[in-house]
């Protein structure tokens, strides 16, 4: 894969999305930072996974990349065939999470796909039918399904239609927002395989968003871990999941139940206390510090609550970066087995 990679085609530079929340008992205005100073780069042909839990901002990021969400700060640029070498219309497409609500239930399949083809304007009218057929074939659906309405299709079939629709404009980048979360296990595997195959065949670039770490490992080359609107770790999928440098990533990976073989992280479970705080009131300093097990192991160094760590430089020479003041201690703390029962969350 690295041999085929082109240079960067998607750049997100210090993107922030903030919402103003008014009201509440005091009527004050509060700022909700859904995305805070997020930067990333994706090379052509690469698949970047984005993982995180509710409230981490991954969906906001997805929508911003596709253009459904405007930024409050920062820029997102696509290097493509559009004006000034920027994005062409339809260059970046999205596959949505819920196949049951992202398709108009009473529209016929061929009309759903035709809409996207026509909107992209790449194909002359008389060739639209042919194009529909080839798209359906590409996603593994029989041609005679094109007459059916969306309500008559199963979840897996609908998701395939959603993928066909995304492909209609010949995009270079596809943002997948939890595309398999709502599907059954056996169908999930089909769609994952389909997405992987399509990437190879069509040279697509993916930004793949999921909360299921194992699925991301399957689909992505590199991964970005988000927490409360910030990026806390990036790197190749293997290095981040096998030897996480950020304590949150370590906790996330250790929480994933396995089928009985040795857990991938090779150590006992880390239990986080409580839940992520509200994005309206992030903790001071490092956002993760109130729940951080590494901080406890290191006897609560003051810097954690005072200073917000930036993504550190290279770790292990593998392009892995973590936003933690003590990222180099994470692995050793894990292996030393010094992770005890979780302390109480302090305010």
């Amino acid at each position: 894969m690295p041999a085929d990679l082109e240079s960067t085609i998607l750049t997100v530079d210090r993107a922030s999305v903030s919402f103003e929340a008014r009201g509440g008992r005091t009527g004050q205005k509060r700022v909700l930072r859904a995305l805070d100073d997020v930067s990333l780069q994706v090379r052509g042909g690469e698949s970047l996974g984005v993982v995180g839990e509710s409230g981490c901002g991954k969906t906001t990021l997805a929508r911003a990349i596709v253009g459904l969400q405007e930024l409050s700060e920062g820029t997102i640029s696509v290097r493509g065939d559009g004006e000034h070498g920027g994005r062409r219309r339809g260059d970046v497409q999205m596959v949505f999470q819920d196949p049951y609500s992202s398709l108009d239930p009473h529209q016929r399949v061929r009309s759903i796909i035709a809409e996207s083809i026509i909107a992209a304007g790449l194909v002359p009218k008389h060739e639209v039918r042919e194009r529909i057929a080839s798209l359906l074939d590409l996603v593994g659906l029989h041609g005679d399904l094109s007459d059916r309405r969306a309500t008559e299709l199963s979840g897996g079939q609908r998701q395939r239609v959603g993928i066909a629709r995304a492909l209609a404009s010949e995009p270079r980048i596809i943002v997948c927002d939890e595309p398999v979360t709502a599907l059954d296990v056996s169908i999930q595997a089909q769609i994952i395989n389909l997405l992987t195959d399509l990437r190879r065949r069509l040279g697509l670039t993916y930004v793949f968003i999921a909360h299921d770490v194992a699925v991301v490992e399957q689909v992505a080359d590199r991964v970005m871990v988000m927490y409360l609107g910030r990026v806390v770790e990036t790197g190749t999928v293997r290095s981040v999941f096998e030897s996480p440098s950020h304590p949150y990533t370590a906790a996330l990976v250790s929480a994933v139940p396995t089928l009985g073989a040795e857990p991938a992280s090779g150590h006992s479970a880390i239990r986080l206390v409580g839940e992520p705080p509200s994005p309206v009131a992030p903790p001071s300093g490092c956002r993760f510090h109130p729940r951080c097990w590494l901080r406890d192991v290191l006897d609560r160094p003051p810097i954690c609550s005072e200073e917000d760590p930036h993504l550190s430089g290279l770790v292990n020479g593998s392009e892995q970066r973590a936003a933690c003041h003590f990222f180099s201690e994470t692995q050793s703390a894990l292996l030393a087995g010094t992770v005890g029962p979780p302390q109480a969350v302090d305010e």
Partner: protein, 367 residues
């Protein structure tokens, strides 16, 4: 919360003012010469002119209106010319009769309607449900005065159970001393149980007549609302806890689906006033509805204006009380805009000027 109440009271005052202007104009613009009507067809032009002067009809409309408002503020509702009585004293006489009727009709209609509707929702498709469904349609579609006449026919003429429909008390009963004007309450206070019995007997038919359309309407609304809630997950949870069906229906389903029922119940109380007009005519009830009808026929607008204002005020108060109760019935509703409402995305300009966000928060918003 207080800000909300103050705002609503202010809005109510504006509404009342607009209503007063509206009704004022309406009567001034209606055809016919009020002074002539009051004076009678045989009066001399001079007499008519003097009455016209008394009624201030020679002033400009604005002055007339200002004079009217001035009077109102001082508690003077004007004079009912065709009865030669002040409107104020008329209202004091007649309002309690209508109010008493409305009170009992509301209670009966609301309780009856909600109960039947809830029970029907608990047994959809059964005989009970279908019968009450048809009955509700009939109850809604039947003109109230016809209903009243039919009830009189059945219970008075044929069965002889009901007393003569000529008002609030039999001719032979002495009214109890006036405290509230509500005969039932006054007789209870005076310990006069025979008067109480008589008052209730006379109230029975008109109250039932007025209550039936309300009950029918609320039965339909309650049934629909409870049915919708019945499929909810939390009803299943309640059953999973071992809660019996009756409790599931009343403590869980009805309680959760109560909001639309409450809203419409409040509105139907307001509607009672219009129903009361016809019912009072049928039962010879000495209430405000009858007064309004008479006054309109006699082109005597002062009492009608006063009644219109009272009706508007009643609606406004009912609405306000209902809205205030929303937050009590359903805790998810916060009248001041809510603490978990995200208003809008910040523009780049705003973002660059904003402080870094800290501060405590009430609700959680999912990004």
């Amino acid at each position: 919360m207080k800000r909300y109440v103050v705002r609503r009271i202010g809005a109510t005052l504006i509404v009342i003012w607009l209503v007063s202007v509206g009704s004022f104009l309406l009567f001034r613009l209606a055809p016919g010469d009020p002074a002539r009507l009051v004076a009678g067809p045989l009066a001399s032009p001079a007499a008519v002119a003097s009455i016209r002067h008394q009624m201030q009809l020679n002033e400009s409309p604005i002055n007339q209106y200002l004079g009217y408002v001035d009077d109102l503020v001082h508690g003077n509702f004007g004079t009912a010319w065709h009865l030669h009585q002040s409107v104020g004293s008329l209202l004091v006489q007649r309002l309690p009769a209508t109010a008493e009727l409305a009170l009992y009709a509301s209670i009966l209609g609301i309780l009856g309607g909600v109960l039947i509707g809830a029970l029907a929702a608990a047994r959809p498709g059964t005989l009970f449900d279908r019968i009450t469904g048809y009955a509700a349609i009939v109850g809604l579609g039947t003109p109230v005065f016809w209903l009243g006449l039919v009830l009189i026919l059945i219970f008075y003429s044929h069965l002889g159970i009901a007393p003569v429909p000529i008002g609030r008390l039999s001719l032979t009963t002495t009214p109890p001393p006036h405290v509230t004007g509500f005969l039932t309450i006054d007789s209870l206070l005076a310990g006069d149980f025979s008067a109480l019995g008589d008052a209730l007997a006379h109230l029975a038919l008109p109250v039932i007549t007025l209550a039936i359309p309300i009950a029918a309407y609320l039965a339909r609304v309650t049934r629909a609302s409870v049915l919708e809630v019945y499929d909810s997950d939390f009803i299943r949870t309640a059953r999973a806890k071992g809660v019996g069906e009756r409790r599931v229906l009343f403590r869980h389903a009805l309680r959760a689906g109560f909001l639309p029922v409450m809203t419409l119940a409040a509105l139907s109380i307001g509607d009672l006033l219009s129903g009361a007009v016809l019912v009072e005519a049928v039962f010879n009830w000495p209430g405000v509805g009858g007064l309004a009808v008479e006054s309109i026929a006699a082109h005597d607008f002062a009492p009608v204006e006063a009644i219109v204002l009272i009706a508007a005020l009643t609606y406004c108060i009912l609405n306000l009380v209902t809205d205030l109760l929303y937050g009590v019935v359903d805790a998810r509703i916060r009248l001041d805009g809510g603490s978990s409402t995200v208003v809008r995305r910040m523009s780049r300009r705003q973002f660059s000027r904003s402080p870094s966000g800290t501060g405590d928060v009430d609700g959680v918003v999912q990004a």
